[in-house]
Every structure is written in C-alpha cells, then in structure tokens.
Amino acid sequence: MELNRLSARELLKLLDEGSIKIDDVVLALKERINRIDHRINAYVRKEKDLSLSAHQSGLLQGLPIAVKDNICTEGLNTECCSRILEGFIPPYDATVIKKLKENGASIFPLKTNMDEFAFGSSCENSCFGPSHNPWNQEYVCGGSSGGSAAAVAADEAIFALGTDTGGSIRQPASFCGVVGLKPTYGRVSRFGLIAFASSLDVIGPITKDVYDCALLLNIICGYDPYDSTSVNIEVTDFTKGLSQDIKGLKIALPKEYFIEGVDKEVKEAIRDAIEVFKKLGASFQEVSLPHTEYAVAVYYIVATAEASSNLARFDGVQYGLRIRPKEQKESALLDMYKKTRGKGFGQEAKRRIILGTFALAHGYYEAYYLRAQKVRTLIKEDFDNVFKEFDCILTPTSPTPAFKIGEKIKDPLKMYLSDIFTISANLAGIPAISIPCGFTKKGLPIGLQLLAKPFREDILLRVAYNYEQNTVWHKMKPKL
C-alpha cells in the first residue's frame, strides 16, 4: 500500500487501528519526494536535511503537513521563494502552525514552492524555478500556492497549507485537481503569514478531498488575539453535517462568470456539474454581480498598494539578503537599500512594488486607492444582495485549465486575467472553495468554485462534499 496516496481521513483510521505507524507515512512521503520531486519541484531547498521525527499523538496523530514558504515556521527557513529573504529562519511559529502542532501535526521540514511573495498565478515567479503540473509537466501548476497544490496532487503530501490573496489557493487547486478552500477573511489568523496584501490575505487548506479540508479548517480557524483582523465568532465542527443533503438548496449562477473567453471544455464541465447538483435537489438561477468587471482593476490597485508598504521592510538591515555597498560613501545606506532590493526582488515583485507605490503617491491616492476601495464596497454589496436569496454561488474557478509554462509569463496582463473569477471573493472577504469537476481531453483538471456569505464555510463544505460523493474526479491520480 502506498500510504502517501491516501487522504488524511484514511490514514487517521489506519493509525487509530494501529495497522500502520506514523513513521511509515513519513517514509512513504520521503520516498515519493525523492523519486518524483525533481520533475514537479513542489518543494524548495531540497538540499536541506529532510529529517522529520513525527510523534503519533493528538488529533492528527503526527501526520505531516506541507506548508507554503510564506508561513512562518520556527526554526525552519521561510523565504517566500524570494532571494531577499535568503536564509531567513523565523524565531516564531505562525498561529496556524502553533495550532497544527497542538493538534498533533508534524510540520514537514521542506516548504512548498510559490510565486515570490505570492505574486503570480503560475508559480513561475519563484526564485527556485517553477513547479510543474503533476498531470502534465509542461504545464503550470497554478499559483501562487502552486507547490502546495502540486505536492498534494502528486501524493508528495497528505495535505497542505496555502494562502489566498486573489485566488492563490483555489486556482492552483483547480489546475492540479485537488480541493482548495479560501476561508472568510478573519476566520483564520494571519499572524505569521508574511503579508502580501493585508486586507486580502487568508491562509487555507489544500487537500485531496472535502472531508480533509473540513478537518484542517477545524484546526486552523478561530479568533487570535495576536491578529486584530481575526474575528471572534463561534466555531463549529466543519466535519459534522457534511453528508447532510442539499435538497432545496438555492445556487446562483452569475452571468458575468459565464462569458466569452471561458474555455469550452471548462464550460462543459461546469454544465455537467450543474446537472449533478440538480439531481441532488439543488435549484439554479442566473443572477448578476454587476461590478464584476472592475474586480481585476480594483484588486491590482489595493493589493499592490498594500504590498508596496508590506515589502518595504525587506531592506537588508535586519534579516535576509544584504548587499553591502563597495565604498563607504555618504550614500552608503541608500546604496545598500538599492543594491539589496535590486538583487533581492524578482521582476514581478518589482513591478508590483512600483505599481503600488504609484497608487499611493501624493495626488494619486484619491484617484486610485481611495476610489478602488469604494468600488470594493460595491463589489461586496453585489454579493450581499445575491446572498439575500441564495445559499451559494457557483462559477468556474478559472476561465481556463492550466496553461503551458512560459505561455503567459511575458504578458502580465494576460496572467492577471487568470484570476478573474477568484479575485472578487478576496475583495468581498467571503469564503470560496474550488473542487475538481472534470478533465480536459488533454487530461488537465478543471475546477469549480462555490462561494457563500461570510463565515458560512459550512455551506460550501456540505455542497462540495455532496458533489464529491456523487463524482469520481477527486479519486483520479496523475501518472508519475
């Protein structure tokens, strides 16, 4: 039995029965990584010592979890796949990591690949090179949490943590054929997540199935006094009630998400999925989210503005890369800043820092940032209106399946549009999940997205679970 192929739920059952030991699981994962990760590149800094001693205790029985490179892990390099954070070892654990450890998870000693500082939709902006799609290595795995999604899809991880600022969990999950949940903003503590855009960032699970997703959410969610933006709201057990049926559930189909430019095969897969839901007793109706067309523009102003400020601290003074100026001149400090940041940041990071700096500049702030925030409110109101009548919204996760490595990297605008269906959930702060719903003829996975009102992850998980129980997509494995 290849233990690395199993879900967390299946492994926990075996561990509880005593038929396997946690060391067997760790060994299976290590072997898998050694055998295939040179083709996938889901993990970074593989030259590091892989030693992991898992203790079989707690809810998760020592199960190892793969963690994205932008979530702080005490004593383990956390570099956001950027040269500028070269050698940075956090002195503390992110709150989610703390919670995972408290519940018996082992933190896998290798971190997963990502677009530098989560800037990207293909994992090609990593200083460690791109991750490859497990279903076809010529294709991207999506991004920015591409390494986490690829690791789970390629059975190099049982489950993983990703982060989602504009679709960075859901889009790679859909490209790799796994489950990815972006929780409500404030549901999961951001403490220890190296910020890209503070008002949009969320940590969430990437898993092999919906049950594992609920299980992981149970552990990582909850109010954190160290994160002022986390919300103090009662937490329910998300694994309970998953199998409750969805008869009479009202699902909205926003017409702005079923437009030209959406790949034909994606459309067909979504259409088929709708039929499955109908058979399960859900009803559908077309609705409008009229401000959808502004989402990408609003996002790239708000997100880059916040990023330009969040990334200012990487200056060579305290940690990470420092490039010393050659001469001791009066401008030595400025030279250090320029050289360090010039060498430390990649192309896309520089592009976004410049964009964001511009958006906040004196005289432009009102025209860009402030206006974008106002439109953001309108986008949120669009959703509020729909959720008055509907339980959830269904859309494709991405307009296309995975594209080829190198296909869009030279065209940032095209790349930005890859997030067109996922961005709005971040702007509105609402929860959204991506689940596998089919494959293209070439064998690339397709994902569907479900969105619900704030703090109703339970609805998303129940709807997704019902679908999963009646389809086989999540059971498909790439040939590697």
Binding site: I71, C72, T78, C80, L85, F88, P90, P91, Y92, A94, R190, F191, G192, L193, I194, A195, A197, S198, S199, P225, Y226, D227, S228, T229, A305, E306, S308, S309, A312, R313, F314, D315, V317, Q318, Y319, Q328, L333, Y337, T357, L360, A361, H362, Y365, Y369
Partner: protein
C-alpha cells in the same frame, strides 16, 4: 516696519504605558540595547500589531485635558518612509483622523493675563528605534521602537519665544498631572520641533516658514527661537528673501544651521493601516475617561489662591506638579497654616530634594512628619536652624524627627533658669564683649548670642537667648550706673 513672530509647536511625548503601543514589550528606559524587543516591534515578517488600549486611553485623556474634540472612529494609517531605525519602513500613525483635534491650551505669563493657544491635533503613533553612529558604521537599538508616542500640534498662535517656553511648561504640567508621560527631555520622553515665521503686522498671510529641530531642552527651544527671530528679521530688514527649510539648533555654537530645503520633502504615501481594524469609541467610554481626569494645574492654581490665600507666584509653584500640590494640601491636614507650610515646602524641603535630585514622588518624608517638625519650630521647641538640620537627617536616614531629636537630645532649651546659668557663664568668659556692649557697641550682643548658641549645641531658641541676654546686660548696665 515691525514684524510679528508666528510660532507653531509640534511636541512628541512618549506615553508611559507599561507595554509598547502594538506589542507586549516593556517600555522600561535604560535597558541594554535590543532587550525590550519582539518580532512585532522588530517588524519581523509575518508579525502583526495589536493596539494597546491603555495608550489610546492616555491619548484621549490628553485630548480631553486640551479641550479637544475626540474622534470616535479610531483608525491608524501607515506613514511610509525608509530609515534604519524604523523596523517596518513605515510608521503606524494617524493621518486624517487624529484621536483628538480642535482644542486649546491657556498660558498665563503674568497673573491674570491669559492667552489661548489653539491645539490643532493630537494623534497617536509608534516611536522609532535609536541609531548610534560610530566612526564608519551605525548601530540600531530597537528598545524604543513601538513605544506609544503622542504628537501634539499647536496652531501658529504663539507670538514670542517666551510664549513658546510658557506653552511647553504649561503643556508639560498638564501631561504630568494626567500621569501619562514623564516628559523628560533628557530621556527623550518629550521632544519638540518648532515652526517659525515672521510677517508684517498688517499681513494676513504667514511668512516663509522655517522648521527647527534638535532642541534638547525648553531653554534650547527658547534660545533657538530667539536666534531665529534675530536671523530672520535681519534678513527681512535687509530685503533678503527667506527660504522654506528645516534648520537644526546647535547648542554649542548657539545658532541654527540648515538641514534640508523644501524640495527634498518626502511623500509619505499615507494609507489606512489594514492590520488594525477601526475601533469605535462609545460616548460612555469618553465620559468615563473624562470623569477620571484629575483637577488640572490651572484650576488647581486658582483654588490654591482662593482657598489658602496663596499669591499667584506661590500658587503657580505649588500647582506646577500634581505631587507637590497633593503634598501641600496633605500637609494642611496636619498643620493648617498655608503660608508657613508653603515656606517650608518651597524652601528647605525643595533644597533637600534638589540636592538629592529627588522628585516629589520619591519623597520619603511624609506630610505628617514634616508638619510635626514645623510645629516644634512654631512652638519654639527647637530653632529654625536646628529644624533644617533635623530635616536633612530625616532625608539621610529615613528616621522620624522624634527619633532624631531624642537620640541627639536637641530639644530646645527653653527652660529660662537653665538658660540663665549658661548666660552667666558666657558673660563671665567674655568680659570684653560685655564692656563693648556697655559702651554702646550693640554688635557685641550678637556675638554673645552666638557664644550661647555654641554652648547649647544650637539647642536654644536664639530669640529667647537674645531677649534674656539683653535683659541681663541692661540690668548690669543699670547696676553700674
């Protein structure tokens, strides 16, 4: 042509909360470099700020004491600029919604002549670290980074260096009354920048503004402003134009020097801090804080004058520190003679405290103790001089006055019979002086008093001694005649 001086002051005060503004680190002064730090105040990747509610409460207190409108929608903004003492390369501050605005502060240069200075805004922010420059490199100490800082900005309604000085004194008194800051310029818990310009009296528009920095005491502020008044008026009288610039005060050279001009001004790219959710204050929160405000120096001064008959100067002195005023009023419970208590406080007590660089808060001599001592003097049980010595010993040993007096048996010799014996002895030993006195040299009397005091170890009442001596000598005189 006469020019009018226009000054606006920008004061930064560190709030003396136990912990920093956005993390749990201690604010204790004088710790080894980089020991009061954590990932949050070091701006480590992934760390997040959490507002210290006490800092907000202190800020509101100050806003209320300065008669400001309090902002109910509390929000923070990021002020972005690169500097190695700023761990995140942005400062969490407040931009267009300061915690308090549109207030005023009354200053009183002379009795009865008050001037109202407008307070434009009071906002809460975090302090930066401290750079230590060595020969060819610099070090940074982040102990100070993240300490809550209040910026208090006046309107340009101060019209002389003296007024500026008085404004600072008055502001400091209020802040110390509120117990929100030590206001110690030497420790950097109070810092002041000034904007100064000169304009023709009839002009409505303000003149070219110069910003002054690096003034390390109230006196330096006054001196720097006085220097600028001179410098700017000289330029204006000789028809030269001023440039808008920032100048540094050089206390050694006693002059200001240009640091940077307006062209080099930075764009701080303010935007709302997304890591801190806006905080809504309820009217009841503000009312609660208002009710907790102590009596402020100005009304305290008035009350001291009315209730205890102190003069303006006396009241101003006593009211200058809340601790001192409390001490004063406490003393009156034990000895209800305001003028006498005032004299002791402003004289001997202050002298002892100053000598030891003590604050009223550190004072070990209780009002009860002090008043007991005063009573002994007033009842002629011990001499004034001796009492001062006893006070010094009380400071030195921490013992009570009764203990000290008993152990040294310094109780004043007021027994006339006993004194007379000593007097006779002194007169016998100093026949020359006795003769001098008789021949009309009245100075001789004081010499004889001194001799008696010496013999009694200063335990005699000098006035009594003088009276008795005079009597004795005059009797002798009569006898001889």
């Amino acid at each position: 042509m006469e020019y009018e001086v226009v000054i606006g002051l920008e004061v930064h005060v560190q709030l003396k909360t136990k912990t920093k503004a956005f993390c749990g680190c201690s604010t204790e002064f004088g710790r080894p470099p980089n020991s009061n730090v954590c990932p949050v105040c070091l701006g480590f990747p992934g760390s997040l700020p959490v507002l210290n509610k006490k800092a907000l409460e202190f800020a509101i207190k100050v806003g209320l004491a300065l008669n400001c409108k309090i902002q109910k929608y509390i929000r923070f903004d990021r002020k972005n600029y690169f500097y190695p003492d700023l761990p995140k390369n942005y400062q969490i501050s407040q931009y267009n919604l300061p915690v308090a605005q549109d207030g005023f502060l009354d200053i009183e240069l002379e009795e009865g002549i008050k001037k109202r200075i407008g307070i434009k805004r009071v906002h809460l922010e975090e302090d930066a670290g401290k750079l230590i420059h060595l020969e060819d490199f610099s070090l940074v100490d982040f102990n100070r980074a993240g300490i809550p800082l209040l910026e208090i900005v006046s309107l340009p309604q101060i019209n002389s260096p003296q007024e500026a000085h008085e404004y600072l004194i008055t502001l400091k008194e209020i802040l110390r009354y509120l117990e929100v800051s030590d206001c110690d310029m030497e420790k950097g818990s109070l810092r002041c920048d000034a904007n100064i310009s000169l304009k023709k009296k009839k002009d409505l528009k303000l003149g070219t503004k110069v910003e002054l920095k690096n003034m390390n005491s109230f006196k330096a502020v006054k001196d720097a402003l006085s220097y600028e008044v001179e410098r700017q008026s000289k330029l204006l009288y000789s028809n030269k134009t001023l440039i808008q610039e920032t100048r540094l005060w050089d206390p050694k050279e006693v002059k200001t020097v240009s640091m940077r001009t307006k062209e080099e001004a930075q764009d701080y790219r303010y935007f709302p801090e997304p890591d801190l959710v806006p905080f809504i204050l309820e009217e009841t929160d503000i009312e609660k804080i208002k009710a907790s405000l102590p009596e402020l120096p100005d009304s305290k001064k008035q009350r001291l004058m009315e209730r205890y008959g102190l003069s303006f100067k006396q009241a101003k002195f006593i009211a200058s520190e809340k601790g001192l005023a409390d001490y004063f009023e406490n003393c009156l419970n034990f000895y209800p003679q305001p003028k006498i208590v005032y004299n002791w406080l402003s004289g001997p007590l202050m002298a002892e405290m100053n000598e030891r660089k003590q604050n009223i808060e550190d004072l070990k001599v209780s009002p009860e103790q002090l008043c007991g001592l005063i009573k002994l003097v007033e009842e002629n049980k011990i001499s004034n001089l001796k009492a001062k010595e006893v006070l010094k010993k009380m400071f030195d040993t921490g013992k009570s006055y009764t203990e000290i007096i008993q152990s040294e048996s310094v109780a004043q010799i007021s027994d006339t019979e006993k004194l007379k014996e000593i007097l006779d002895e002194v007169l016998k030993q100093n026949t020359k002086s006795v003769q001098d006195y008789r021949s009309g040299k009245t100075n001789a009397l004081m010499f004889l008093v001194g001799q008696v005091m010496k013999k009694t170890n200063k335990n005699a009442d000098p006035q009594l001694v003088q009276r008795l001596l005079k009597q004795l000598l005059d009797n002798l005189k009569e006898e001889a005649e």
